[in-house]
């Protein structure tokens, strides 16, 4: 494990930006570790990596990392990232976002980014609640769960993130959890490597709000629950549907080849310029 943290330290703005804003036991730091290990393993030139985020707990991640980092307005990370990527297609553009940021206020940008298929990797940290503002329900808060703005239980139905991304046309869709770190490392690695729009949902814990308001215990308890409830897609395929019901499916939901947007646009430029 020592080796793992060495890699992380290589990419931190350690002297400038720590301690971080996250609660003790928060899963976002685990996702940050996975992201850094994936980038390191891919041997990306850090000058050619841009991390873009919106607003929320997860969106604070880029400030701690020594890349080109762009912390934008609420929900708009993917739209800013679209401009960065199309302006400089050589850039590896990675978007860090949360369930509220990407799916509520940023829902429009999310589906259109999936559809457009620009080579952007979107890491969506889903903790099922608005953490930064104090525990209001989000588009992924389960029905009947409690939140600061759902004191009698949430009356809405949540998004299924992989289904939404696939429906909207993403080239690569995967889900991992902050308990299954080795798998998450791999999913993010594959997501960045994929040419086209990739969506990696990182299921995480907000014990401070979601956990407390729903009596799910502390960080450790919530991670243990993730361990129990997660079910790899491959295993689920061999099980009867009633046993799959209510489980958190993990793994790669789709991985398809579609010509990437910037490549298509570049081909247009080449043809117009007669090259």
């Amino acid at each position: 494990m020592a080796q793992r943290s060495d890699v992380t330290h290589k990419y931190l703005r350690a002297k400038k930006k720590f301690p971080n804003v996250w609660c003790a036991g928060c899963g976002i730091g685990i996702v940050m570790g996975s992201l850094v290990r994936a980038i390191d393993r891919l041997e990306l030139d850090r000058d050619n990596v841009t991390l873009v985020s919106g607003i929320g707990c997860s969106s604070r991640m880029p400030v701690y990392l020594d890349f080109n980092t762009l912390h934008t307005t609420h929900g708009r990370a993917l739209a800013f990232a679209t401009g960065v990527k199309l302006s400089n297609p050589k850039m590896h553009v990675i978007v860090i976002t949360g369930d509220g940021d990407a799916l509520a206020i940023g829902g429009n940008h999310f589906i259109h980014s999936c559809r457009r298929n620009m080579d952007i990797t979107c890491i969506l940290i889903n903790n099922q609640i608005y953490g930064m503002t104090g525990g209001q329900f989000s588009p992924t808060t389960p029905t009947d769960s409690y939140a600061a703005t759902a004191p009698y239980g949430n009356k809405e139905y949540p998004f299924d993130i992989p289904k939404l991304a696939m429906g909207a046309g993403a080239s690569y869709v995967a889900r991992g959890t902050v308990y299954h770190v080795t798998q998450l490392d791999q999913l993010i690695y594959d997501g960045i490597k994929k040419r086209g729009f990739s969506l990696v949902e990182a299921f995480s814990n907000c014990h401070t709000y979601f956990g407390r308001l729903n009596r799910l215990g502390d960080s450790v308890k919530m991670l243990e629950e993730m361990k129990k409830n997660a079910l790899p897609l491959k295993a689920a395929a061999k099980m009867p549907p009633e046993k799959v019901q209510g489980k958190l499916l993990t793994g790669v939901f789709c991985d398809v080849e579609r010509e990437e947007y910037c490549d298509r646009y570049d081909a247009l430029i080449q043809s117009l310029q007669g090259k």
């Binding site: 850090r46 762009l70 934008t72 307005t73």
Partner: protein
Amino acid sequence: MAENIKLMQGNEAVVEGAMIAGLRFFGGYPITPSTEIAEQLARRLPKVGGKFIQMEDEIASMASIIGASLAGSKSMTATSGPGFSLMVEGIGYAYMAEVPTVIVNVQRGGPSTGLPTKVSQSDTMQARWGTHGDYIAIALAPQSVRETLDLTVRAMNLAEVYRTPVTLLTDEVLGHMREKVTIPEEGEIEVINRQKPDVPASWYKHFEITPNFKSPMASFGDGYRFHVTGLTHDEEGFPTNKSVEILAKLTKLRNKIMRYLDDICQIETDGMEDAHVAVYAYGIVARAARQAVQMARARRMKVGQIRPITIWPSHDKKYREIFSSKNLEAVIVAELNQGQLVYEVQRLVPKHVQVISLNRFDSELITPAQILNKIKEVR
């Protein structure tokens, strides 16, 4: 070489100006009466290796041009009132994060979806105060098709020099009317590119506060690896809650524009030396004002004209000088709205000078005769 003369629309002139200025990225969303700008740039930009993208809405359009500008491309969007309302979020961000961007607002009648195909100047104050928080906006307003071309280049130059969003305020009539334009030859109009840093990466501060308030700007990918945020930040771009740093940042944002009013602000005056009455109007209305002033002068009335070309910021000192012209008794402020710039004039005229509003908001242009009648009433 033969002159390159074209009959073109104001919206086409925006495109010509933008291409001259070196535009390389346009992110937009269709909206009447600005759409020709997007349509033509979709055709023109890829031919020079530039990028055009139609985004999912105006919020995304503004966001995309900020991202593209940070990645090194000269960037622009174009819209009209309802779209501008959505863009103000991003305009505030571009101001705070000091990202050069140009927003063309081809004004139409409001409020709300209002009058998509009718002329208006009712976004004048929105161009100044659209986004939340204290800020200094730059907005330019042409009165002809050729001037639309020139001011598009100028808007892009100002954005690059001052690292800030700049709005070009045209309107439905200017955008769609056709006039003869001599396309300037290469090098005829000055084009300014942003200043890049020449220091090693470890010394570089993306938001450095320099004595002249201008800080060089690296692009993502240049090897400087800086942080950009809309949160109030220090010189390196990292969020801060320290009052000293907050004050320094917000003061810099203000000073970097307000210390350069002489460069930024263009005001045209005519016949003010002996004028008893002045007509103050911008954009398309200034043309009616010009004719009205000529008609009045032919009737031996001493009337002058004031035409703000830079609408925002206001060069208070210069306006005070103009309004202090020794015979001046009244200023007629003619606007295609219910009275917006009139408050700026009221704020700056000497006490003895009367300020009279001439407004029209029934979707038709103010006519020279209307202005002349007002002049006669005053005299």
